[in-house]
Symmetry: C2
Subunit: 472 residues, 2 copies
């Protein structure tokens, strides 16, 4: 009998906190403390209490004192005891919090739309669980002990080495591990670069007239003024860059309108940075996902001292990992590390080691190839559906990425977005992405993310989308 208590203690390993502040007899004190713990809801109904000997050792009281206290509380109805199941908090004990509790708003995604065609999220059902777990196991088993201490704010050297090789090979980035700083994603990179007075960069920052409102808000919160650059079919008009200190571009795939930055514009942006002492922030958010035959390398390769190349696994693997990187010109490395602090405060070191293994073992390449193929099929289904049901709607920006832009007749964008809501489809109009101070013409269009729906639901999502488009 005693043994079975011990075994259950081993199983739950419970660590029970009790305030034994009073000066009375130990047994009475213990009863009071336990009763209070149950009454206040700290010990929830059904919670198994530690065995006598364990609690007695913890509290420095005799085992019988605990046994007596439990028996008393069972008699009072606060606890229940059943042989083989230990002593538990009685089910009728109502926690304090239960009365005060109010239903909270569900998180935005939890009560999501029927068809989610918003951009920005990869197919969550395609996370390579088995391969990632294999890398995690290897990383955890091979990690030196110091990996479990405070982390280098630059990030694990294993990951920076792997990224150096991978980014050179796959994205045309020229760098070395010492110039890479790991972060938790693109937004974190922006925060680190523009952080307060100690920041590496200051505004004004030129941005593309269409981009993520979230980034503009983040920059505004950091007191960085943004100046919109007009866009045309060749990307941002970098010839209009002037006295700004930096420019934020999406050269591989303009976000969200979808084209690559023309080679002459890439060169012009680098020329501007050299002439003015400026710097280019290259947001390479989906550089791996190109479906045509012409790869578009990183602008960083043109001049590693004039471009900050920023990437993450948020599109290629999952935003749940919170892992990204900055490839920095040498002169910014110390400044960014100073902002990051003496130790890594953000990115999980185990995930960093896992990603390093995932890249080096080839799993990352295999995953990207597999997803590229899958997204290409989805893109083709989108194009085919539109060709059949809405041939008058022009589809653009489909050579790469996880989203397309559907151009709409002037003045129809808002009504299409509303019609989509009626069809149970969540998507965004182009106006959502427009810089408030943009002066270029404002084309009507919607941004359709084709990565998010589950595979089985994609066809229905396309049907619903087509139902929301304006008649010919």
């Amino acid at each position: 009998m005693a043994e079975s208590w011990v075994n259950s203690a081993e199983r739950i390993g419970a660590d029970l906190h009790l305030e034994m502040a009073g000066a009375g007899p130990r047994r009475a004190e213990l009863i009071r403390a336990l009763r209070e713990a149950v009454r206040s809801g700290r010990l929830a109904p059904g919670t198994r209490l530690p065995p006598y000997r364990s609690l007695a050792a913890d509290l420095g009281v005799a085992r019988n004192t605990v046994a007596d206290a439990y028996a008393e509380l069972v008699a009072e109805g606060w606890l229940t005891a059943r042989q083989g199941s230990g002593t538990r908090v009685a089910e009728r004990a109502e926690p304090l919090g239960a009365r005060a509790r109010v239903p909270k708003k569900a998180p935005p995604r939890a009560r999501g739309p029927r068809h989610d065609l918003r951009q920005g999220t990869p197919d969550a059902s395609s996370f390579p669980r088995a391969a990632w777990l294999a890398s995690y196991r290897r990383a955890l088993q091979q990690a030196p002990n110091e990996a479990f201490g405070p982390g280098d704010p630059a990030g694990r050297i294993e990951l920076r080495r792997a990224l150096t090789e991978y980014l050179a090979r796959a994205r045309g980035v020229r760098t070395e591990p010492e110039r890479i700083v790991v972060c938790s994603g693109f937004a974190h990179a922006l925060r680190l670069l523009f952080a307060g007075t100690g920041g590496v960069l200051r505004g004004p920052l030129a941005v593309e007239s269409y981009g993520l409102g979230f980034h503009r808000e983040l920059l505004a919160a950091a007191s960085v003024r943004t100046v919109p650059l007009p866009l045309d079919g060749d990307g941002a008009l970098v010839g209009e860059l002037g006295r700004e200190r930096a420019v934020l571009l999406t050269p591989a795939h303009q976000f969200p309108t979808g084209g690559p930055l023309h080679p002459s514009r890439r060169a012009a942006a680098v020329d501007w940075a050299r002439a003015r002492g400026g710097v280019i922030l290259e947001d390479d958010y989906d550089g791996e996902f190109r479906y045509d035959r012409k790869p578009v390398g990183a602008v960083q390769g043109l001049d590693p001292e004039r471009v900050i190349h920023i990437g993450s696994v948020s599109k290629s693997l999952s935003p749940a990992l919170r892992l990204g990187w900055m490839v920095l010109p040498e002169r910014y490395v110390d400044g960014v590390l100073a902002v990051k602090g003496e130790r890594e405060a953000w990115a999980s070191v185990l995930d960093q080691l896992t990603l390093a293994d995932f890249i080096v073992s080839g799993s990352y390449d295999r995953h990207v190839r597999r997803m590229r193929q899958r997204y290409r099929v989805r893109r083709d289904r989108l194009v085919a559906a539109l060709a059949t049901h809405a041939p008058h709607v022009e589809v653009t920006g489909i050579a790469a990425g996880l989203h397309a832009v559907l151009r709409l007749p002037p003045g129809t964008e808002q009504s299409v977005v509303k019609a989509a809501v009626w069809q149970g489809v969540a998507l965004d109009g182009l106006a959502e992405f427009r810089h408030p101070a943009a002066t270029m013409s404002a084309p009507d269009g919607i941004v359709v993310g084709y990565a998010t729906p589950a595979e089985h639901a994609y066809g229905a999502a396309l049907d619903a989308l087509c139902g929301a488009l304006p008649p010919r």
Copy 2:
């Protein structure tokens, strides 16, 4: 032969980026692009190139074109080809970066001291790799697909539920999952609470006269004025609290001087918060590690609406995980979530799910118990060594935590810290932790962290420490 190429391609799964922008013949273009990739260092010496058929498919050229290009570059000495080993970049090809590379400063920890007795880090060699991996596997296998999408900024509900139960049981915290917000550690919690104009809290913030300089710097960077409270043997003199809006306390174990906040002071702090509409920030940094028989519960339990309870796994498991939590009064929840943003941008979702499993399965309790026992032994060895070699030095703050404070004769602190450096021991003097505006007396002392050294090196570290202490 063809098969062996394919197999090696499967193994490396390489995704080679080549700029084929020119208009010339494909073969010449490919040679130029490959040569440039090697010359610029993008393709490092020894890198294995993709097999003909794979690269040919990628580039949309004939397989023979690739074979010809490779052969040409082998002839030129850029590549080498050996049967069974594929085509590789020649070893003599020097990357561009190699010339520009300058030796960088090693990160602070990499060239660490012989004996690291600085406080703040748990024993890195004790990370429970097997149990954590088991939890990771279960978490990864059981995670719903949506876990790989954008994360709820409050953190995973599984983790918040587990924390609610655990903190109630082990720390006396009264809360519910809806009032917990996951973050990446204590510093992140401070940043979120005091972030810019949208922040939940504003200064001035009362702090203990001794604390982490890092926290004071972080608060100063956020324009939060801190006001030092004097300390005595019962902890912070909370009776001196006035018009501050908030007070930051370490009630379980004053950091670094080491005592718990006296029950009357705990009550007085809560009374102040109620009377003035203030709030207590409770930094529960090592609440699990108590070695005496009197547990010290969280102040939060006294009034959940007046205390923000902040904890993390940085001391109990590892700072490498970057996982912490805030237990919030209801009125702050929406504000903190608004600062965090629409999606989780920081804490790894997979690590969150793993920690939830680790807690619920009982592994966390088992680990904490095991470490408590191990640290207790280390503490006892420290006390015994001092009793033998330096009986005149008073040891304080040893009822809990991972560090002790050695009181020194007036005026000797600096020379002892210097003597420690000579002995190869890294540790900090109390002056390091003193608020610059503190008015209380400034006792001489050193803070000795006893968790960091490896088990086999601890005895030598103690010898070196004793060698640095002043003679009787």
